[in-house]
Amino acid sequence: MKKYVCGVCGYVYDPEKGDSEGNIPPGTAFEDLPDDWTCPVCGASKDQFDPED
């Protein structure tokens, strides 16, 4: 599963860790995050994220 980077603040979503603040369990792929999920650091929406290179 690929990591994704927030284009606004640089936060990296790691599917292995999930996002405890947003109640996203470890093992959740970026693609499977709910549409209204937002960056836990800056609040940017999902479409601001790009795959990590």
Partner: protein, 397 residues
Amino acid sequence: MQPVEVKKDIYWVGAVDWDIRDFHGYTTYQGSTYNSYLVKDQKIALFDGVKKGFELDLIHRVHNLGIKPGDIDYLVVNHLEPDHSGGLPELIERLKPEKVLCSPMGEKAMKAHYHYQGWPVEVVKSGDTLNLGSRTVHFLETRMLHWPDSMFSYLAEDKVLISSDAFGHHWATSERFDDQVDQNQLMQHCAKYYANILLLYSPLVQKLLAKVQEMGLQIDVICPDHGVIWRKDPMKIIQAYDRWSRQETVDKAVVAFGSMWHSTELMAKAVADGLIDQGMSVKLMNLADNHRSDVMTEVLDAKVLAIGSATLNNGMLPWVADFLQYMRGLKPTGRLAAAFGSYGWSGEAVKEITAKLEEMKLELVGEGLRWQYVPDHEALKLCRELGQKLGQAAKAG
């Protein structure tokens, strides 16, 4: 309007705003400053601009250094918020700098603010450097501290950190250095700044402090973009940021409330009594009289938050909702909380406050306490017991 020497060939050339009282909803009872720094070397660099309307303060100080605007080669823009960038169009027009330097996110923000054409913008990233002759500027992006574009500029040879909004405070003074002002007032202004601007980014502050340590940055002087320069004791503010960003609290409670006919106010006083019984220091703050940014400053190191509201038109008072909305965004963590309030017939306020506190993931103590109309002795005893319970829980934690 004289420049002030910070270190050899490094000058403060900013502006003091004695008049500002409202900084986007943050009360600045004692004004602010917009700090700008000029470094004279084989190349001349200016770090950060000033707010629109203060350009001439800056230009006159530079003039008094014997430097013509056209002599300035580089303009470094560490942060695009208009209090520092509002003067950019006029400055770039007058200075005609060879380069305008900013972070990658800074370039985006600069375009979105000024819709410019033909500015000689050059993007620098963390680790990039700028040679001025006998000294080198090192750039460090500090994204979301407190905007995506925020950046530090570090003068390695001088051990001077130009820190943008970090380590700053809103306080208009004739003094320019930390050792020239009252220390308690200084730290109070810094606490207000942290609580109202940076608290929500505390996890990033922790990371940044760790990174600065790991990089082994030697810091003699911190030059923030607001307030006095830390030349005597830069560690004082770094240590305070470490405490605040770990959200360290003391045995202190903020009892913040809104009342209509003094009933919720009576309840608030009784809750405060119970907290005092347990040896807690208490700030009793009527939200009709205290500005949200001042309440937030007290929340910064308070272990307990007791929030009260009367019920108006089936909901909490709008000025209580105002504060809760504001506090929620600033993300205080690891506090104990409780709700209380008097009501007439329906009494939704306590439930609404409780929901907000839960949303903020604060630890609720006891059930929310509601009382119809005017509290009697029995009701006030219950309020005092709630305060005691909160105090006991705080002491136990």
